[in-house]
């Protein structure tokens, strides 16, 4: 690879993704509105946000998986030294699977129902490494063992519908890891799983990431899941990062009012007997975003300056940043 050891694995600057409708009169939806971040090799970033916050679109942009005909994408995206924004389709095909792989929330729809999982995994290996059928099948078996599928040899010939949810998700992870990617993207991979299976898959992902030295970007709406896997947490709202911090710092002291609300609204063991903290209202529509802070309409500490312009994502202490005038008053924001 071209990247030196100290260069980030992922480098994203001012990423914007908008979806244009082909029907006349239907407004363009601004799903991602200026996302900046770096991911070091072997690091785990959790992108935390509610539905419609742009977290999945951001993730898909890193592999250019958003539908080409309706997507308008701009900004800098470099993954493992490859410029994603300007790559040709042929270059992208080489990047996908080999440098970057993705696992999805619902393995039943991500796996092909008419091929056995062994065939699907072997096909990926053959496509990228050009090895023969028998060798690819051996690799598929090793991969199923790697993701701790019990009686893996028998499961090679199983079709997706013959497996339980947990095993299907393991099979999808095996497929994603088949070419030893340097970056794994995970889009809510445990949301559809039961509690006792979810923790198994989370621990497996953590272990595999360490063993294989991958970077991991993990999208979730579940703070508990994030606290279990993340090194750093980025909170997304209306297509922007509103806060980014180390996971311990974040859980101890969230800074952005939205992040504080999200933490307060999360039901945990100590919540019993007290009303839950709520965030009034609903997120703004992405086809008509306000000029100022997108959270201002729901914020109980809103100031006139919040409505004028979107605050910058500015340093708010050691190794963390927030996009709020309360945390970083304009003067510090300019200095940063």
């Amino acid at each position: 690879m071209t990247s030196a050891p100290d260069t980030p694995l992922v480098h994203v600057r001012d990423l914007r993704v908008a979806f244009e409708s082909r029907e006349p009169g239907v407004a363009t939806v601004a799903a991602v509105n200026g996302v900046d971040f770096d991911l070091a090799p072997r690091e785990t970033l959790c992108i935390l946000g509610e539905s419609g916050s742009g977290k999945s679109v951001t993730l898909r942009a890193l592999m250019r998986l958003n539908p080409a005909r309706t997507t308008r994408m701009s900004g800098t995206v470099r993954v493992a030294g490859q410029d994603i924004a300007s790559a040709s389709e042929a270059q992208m095909t080489a990047v996908r699977g080999r440098s970057v792989a993705m696992i999805f929330q619902e393995p039943m729809t991500a796996l092909d129902p008419v091929f056995s999982i062994g065939t699907q995994i072997a096909e990926t290996v053959r496509r990228h490494e050009g090895i023969d059928r028998a060798a690819a099948r051996r690799r598929a078996l090793q991969l199923l063992e790697l993701v701790q599928v019990p009686s893996a040899a028998r499961r090679l010939d199983a079709y997706p519908h013959e497996l339980s949810g947990g095993l299907r998700q393991r099979a999808m992870i095996a497929m994603a890891l088949s070419c030893r990617p340097r970056l794994l993207l995970a889009d809510e991979p445990t949301t559809a799983l039961d509690a006792t299976v979810q923790i198994q898959v989370l621990l497996l992902l953590r272990e595999l990431q360490r063993e294989m030295g991958m970077g991991l970007i993990f999208v979730t709406h579940d703070l508990g899941v994030a606290s279990e896997v993340a090194d750093r947490i980025a909170v997304m709202y209306a297509g922007r990062f509103v806060e980014e911090a180390g996971v311990s710092d974040f859980l101890r002291q969230p800074m952005h009012p939205y992040a504080q609300g999200l933490l307060g609204a999360t039901v945990h063991a100590g919540s019993r007997g007290r009303p839950l903290v709520t965030i009034a209202g609903a997120p703004p529509r992405l086809d008509r975003l306000p000029a100022g802070c997108a959270f201002a309409a729901r914020c109980d500490r809103v100031m006139p300056a919040c409505l004028d312009a979107m605050p910058a994502l500015a340093a708010a202490g050691a190794d963390r940043s927030a996009r709020c005038l309360l945390v970083t008053p304009p003067r510090t924001a300019l200095a940063a």
Partner: protein, 358 residues
């Protein structure tokens, strides 16, 4: 709360007094036949709910937790009479449901349900005020009074009637639709609400709003809740007592503090230990259980949990554990708690157990 419409749809009387359970489920069983006809007909059945029994007390919130396939949603549909049970009976305030004393139409006024999918459970062609007013009209209220009741309820769930009443379900957000579903469930002045994963499809900030609303409504209308969820934290927040189900059976039942503080069934303990830690300094290092829940078509013999249980012994395959009452007001179906069961961890003599209970 003004009750100017009470003349039309009076509150339902409490029959058996506070000590009588509002809902008693006895030996409730539901087996689903597998697909196939004629000679191809399979004899296999899915044992979705198998000999389930519990009481729901007046004024309490009983939480049901368990993983997918454990039968919690089938249980809710059986209680609502949306499914006919294979065996067993449901007793509501001392009267057998569907019997002479409590015909189905009267029962349905007393028990209402809120489903997980707020969109699928609303008629897309009815404005929300008409959706809420529908059932009261079926039960004999004049349209004008039913609409007035709908507005009253929309107000109670935090949706301004003038602004929202004429809207259709697709014009509302998920949280607003779930509020409409709650208002509709309250329209007949029920005494029991069955809430089947009512907040599972909602974002966290909206989930908190709806949970706060449910707590308020329960106090305001003197309701009892059967609250079904896979989210242990939400159940801990909402429930007074908790029922843990595994493969169609009760694993453990008791007061919320006992279940969460001193789980007696190994499955309950594993479920609780599967929750993310919320503390990066104390992350889980080993999963409490391996594998997925087994298939309810062919459940393990004896204790159904034994195939995933770290404490399983030979006796667990031979003997099905009954619910044994424990100190602290809860009961667990585990041979480790049954005196003289033959499990090495079981209490030795009944006398000891009796002393603990006293």
């Amino acid at each position: 709360m003004p009750t100017n419409h009470a003349a039309h749809l009076p509150p339902l009387p409490d029959l058996g007094g506070p000590a009588q359970p509002l809902l008693s489920v006895r030996h409730l069983t539901k087996h689903f036949a597998l697909a196939g006809r004629g000679l191809r007909r399979s004899r296999d059945v899915v044992r979705a709910v198998d000999d389930l029994g519990f009481d729901l007390r007046k004024g309490e919130t009983l939480g049901i937790v368990g993983e997918s396939g454990c039968g919690k949603s089938t249980t809710s549909r059986l209680i609502m009479s949306l499914l006919a049970p294979t065996a067993g009976e449901i007793v509501f305030d001392g009267q057998v449901v569907g019997g002479r004393a409590l015909p189905m139409k009267d029962y349905r006024r007393q028990v209402q349900m809120v489903f997980q999918d707020s969109h699928a459970s609303l008629n897309p062609r009815l404005s929300i005020e008409n959706a809420i007013a529908f059932a009261p009209q079926v039960h004999g209220l004049a349209r004008r009074d039913a609409l007035a009741r709908a507005h009253e309820l929309l107000d109670a769930v935090g949706l301004a009637p003038a602004q929202f009443g004429a809207r259709f379900p697709h014009q509302l957000s998920g949280g607003q639709r779930q509020r409409v579903n709650i208002a509709r469930a309250l329209a007949l002045r029920p005494r029991l609400l069955i809430l089947d994963e009512p907040v599972s499809a909602l974002d966290k900030s909206v989930e908190a709003q709806v949970l706060n609303l449910l707590v308020d409504l329960k106090a305001r209308y003197g309701l009892s809740y059967l609250f079904i969820s896979h989210d242990l934290n939400v159940v801990q927040y909402m429930a007074d007592r908790v029922l843990v189900m595994y493969l169609g059976k009760v694993a453990e039942v008791g007061a919320v503090d006992a279940i969460y503080g001193r789980p007696a069934h190994p499955y309950t303990a594993a479920l609780l230990a599967s929750r993310p830690s919320m503390d990066p300094a104390r992350r889980r290092t080993r999963p409490p259980l391996q594998g997925d829940p087994p298939n309810p078509i062919d459940p393990p013999s004896g204790c159904r949990f034994r195939t995933r249980c770290a404490h399983a012994e030979a006796v667990c395959a031979a003997q099905e554990p009954a619910l044994a009452v424990l100190a602290g007001g809860h009961a667990a179906a585990c041979l480790m708690n049954a005196p003289g069961s033959g499990h090495r961890a079981a209490p030795v003599r009944r006398v000891e157990a009796a002393r603990v209970l006293a």
